[in-house]
């Protein structure tokens, strides 16, 4: 339970307490479930547990994981952001156009991230200034950002990305570890640190847990909220860069439905819809879980229609298994 908190047991590092501590950590428990799933899949198919395929899973989950990282901030603070899928497409296209105009990868990256931050800023503004519930504000932005993405590129995908751009999505460090995987690890570590060890991070949880008490404690809830939504938009943009680089194209129709996958990952990771709790690594594991299920079902050759069913069942039972642990 108590996952978002600094280590309580730092003093007595005996084996039992370490184990107990791990057991209590949301992220570890979902990791268990993930590992169990991996073991089962390895038994079922010889193609599953290969270095290549495991890296493939981290690669395939990178995009959803990054969106889920931003979404985690929003959800931990008690909100929700439905616009990430559209903001994803919007920032991809903005980056693509910037690339075409400037020819510079750096400019393109900055344009993408700027677009993501801007969309997040608008979400935040609608929420704090117009006092619209996050669900509605981001539902509106979902339409707006999608429309802008399509308008900007006239519905036509952008092609012809330079080699350096492609490297972000297709490169491998030491010839084996995919660059997106590295990006995910670095960004999640930083975000974990921010959530745990900075005021901004603690306020994120605090707003989720009790916004009124937070306000009465003299904290500017509205600025923090603005920051949270901007982070969320930024991560959608980073994810968009990675996907564009993987595909070699920026697609205005992309990202459709990613909001559900990302939000799902965060909740599968065990965050509460009421906010105030959650571990960002658990969201990462949620994303890995979702991807593993997909990957595993593909590899087992489960046919498309049945995949929907099995996918749904596994999500339900994975989370149910986690609930059993929580009861203790």
């Amino acid at each position: 339970m108590n996952q978002n908190l600094p280590d309580e047991h730092r003093k007595n590092w005996d084996v039992l307490s370490v184990f107990q501590y791990l057991y209590q950590q949301q992220s570890i428990s979902m990791l268990f479930i993930l590992i169990i799933m991996w073991v089962i899949l390895s038994l079922l198919s010889p193609y599953f547990f290969t270095v290549n395929n495991l890296f493939e899973i981290t690669l395939q989950s990178a995009v959803i994981a990054l969106i889920a990282a931003g979404e985690s901030f929003v959800i931990f603070s008690g909100g929700i952001d439905l616009s990430v899928g559209s903001v994803f497409a919007f920032s991809a296209i903005v980056g693509g156009l910037a690339l075409q105009f400037s020819g510079s990868v750096i400019v393109s990256l900055m344009a993408s991230i700027g677009a993501g931050l801007f969309a997040g800023f608008c979400n935040g503004l609608a929420i704090i200034k117009l006092k619209i519930p996050p669900f509605v504000a981001t539902l509106g932005m979902m339409g707006i950002a999608r429309g802008l993405a399509l308008i900007l590129c006239n519905g036509v995908p952008i092609y012809g990305l330079p080699r350096e751009y492609l490297w972000i999505g297709q490169g491998r460090i030491a010839g084996i570890v995919p660059v997106p995987t590295i990006i995910v690890i670095i960004l999640f570590t930083i975000m974990y640190f921010i959530l745990r060890n900075t005021r901004f991070g603690r306020f994120t949880y605090s707003i989720g847990s009790n916004p009124e008490a937070t306000r009465l404690s003299g904290i500017k809830v509205s600025s923090v909220t603005l920051g949270i939504f901007m982070i969320c938009g930024m991560f959608a943009a980073i994810a968009a860069v990675i996907e564009s680089a993987r595909l070699g194209t920026m697609q205005p129709a992309s990202g459709n439905g990613y909001e559900l996958l990302a939000i799902g990952s965060v909740f599968i990771g065990g965050a509460s819809i009421y906010g105030g709790e959650g571990n960002i690594f658990a969201s990462l594991i949620g994303a890995l879980l979702v991807t593993t299920i997909r990957n595993g079902l593909n590899i087992l050759g489960v046919s498309a229609f049945y995949q929907y069913v099995v996918n749904g069942l596994i999500i339900i039972f994975a989370v149910a298994a986690d609930q059993i642990r929580r009861k203790h």
Binding site: Y47, Q60, V63, L150, L247, T249, Q251, A253, V302
Partner: protein, 301 residues
């Protein structure tokens, strides 16, 4: 040595939400069972999920199937994945929609969406006498098929200065959405004389909208793709023409060629790129055996 080898051919459609692909799958399974293969059907939920399809192809390649038959959601984005598959020694044949570099896959058995849409445009123009207002109902904004099928239509219409084409409306291939949009357009444009539908579900939706307004015999409707539920609408005259590709044939021949490669043969240069032309089904040729072959739902998919 053949013992350990997979006898599975994987067929990857553009999406699993459209009936069209089941015709293709049927062609593939029919030939496959003749030859002793099984066909796995695996796809992403919507055509817009290009990244999902890339992931899917990578995952399938990892399982080393006997061969892959696939339709690319995006000609450029899928290219690296197909290339990897070929490099890994998996025979891949593109059906319906190929990738940019046609030399990478072993063969391409495709149809030209743009051309089909172009033909539809010409026919609709003829039906309405070369003048009036027409509506263009598309599939999904930003998807490749969606673009080609809409652009081809618009291109054809450019030849007719007296025809006004309303801005394209996207439906995500949902029949109900198409029905609502068609009704709204009819309300706002009482002078509308023709509809072009880029896929079967929208054809059904538009047809219902026309029937509800009693315009089914007045306003012309041409739809892409046959689907079982469009046939009664065609027979009663609500749908005036169907642009039919030959998905069954694509699946059938795709497996045939894959088998050849798997068994160590080679595909002749002349067979590498097969363009299956679209057939235009109108009341005049509806009853011909050729048309019926394209239209009829196989008894069992």
């Amino acid at each position: 040595q053949d013992e350990g080898k997979s006898k599975t051919i994987v067929f990857i459609p553009k999406s699993t939400d459209v009936t069209y692909w089941l015709f293709l799958r049927k062609g593939a399974t029919d030939k496959a069972s003749e030859l002793g293969y099984t066909v796995d059907y695996q796809g992403v939920a919507t055509e817009a999920d290009v990244a999902g399809q890339v992931n899917l192809v990578n995952n399938i390649v990892a399982t080393k199937p006997a061969g892959i038959l696939m339709a690319a959601t995006d000609a450029k984005a899928l290219q690296p994945a197909v290339e990897n598959g070929i490099k890994a020694g998996i025979p891949i044949i593109m059906v319906d929609s190929g990738i940019e570099d046609k030399t990478i896959p072993l063969a391409n058995i495709t149809t030209d969406n743009f051309d089909g849409a172009y033909q539809a445009g010409l026919l609709l123009a003829e039906m309405i006498g070369g003048k009036g207002k027409v509506a263009n109902i598309g599939i999904t904004a930003g998807s490749q098929t969606g673009r080609e099928r809409s652009d081809g239509f618009i291109e054809a219409m450019k030849k007719f200065p007296d025809i006004q084409v309303l801005p394209v409306q996207w439906t995500d291939a949902i029949a109900a959405t198409a029905m609502n949009i068609a009704t709204d357009l009819l309300n706002a444009n009482p002078d509308l004389v023709g509809f072009y539908s880029a896929a079967a579900p929208m054809g059904v939706g538009i047809a219902q909208a026309l029937k509800a307004k009693g315009l089914d015999q007045k306003v012309k409707l041409i739809t892409f793709d046959p689907s079982p539920e469009t046939l009664p609408l065609f027979e009663e005259g609500t749908i005036n023409a169907i642009i039919a590709q030959d998905p069954y044939q694509m699946g059938y021949r795709g497996v045939e060629m894959l088998d050849k490669v798997i068994k160590g043969g080679k595909i002749e240069e002349g067979e590498r790129d097969i363009q299956i032309p679209v057939a235009i089904i109108t009341p005049e040729n509806y009853d011909t055996p050729e048309s019926q072959k394209l239209l009829q739902t196989p008894d069992k998919f």
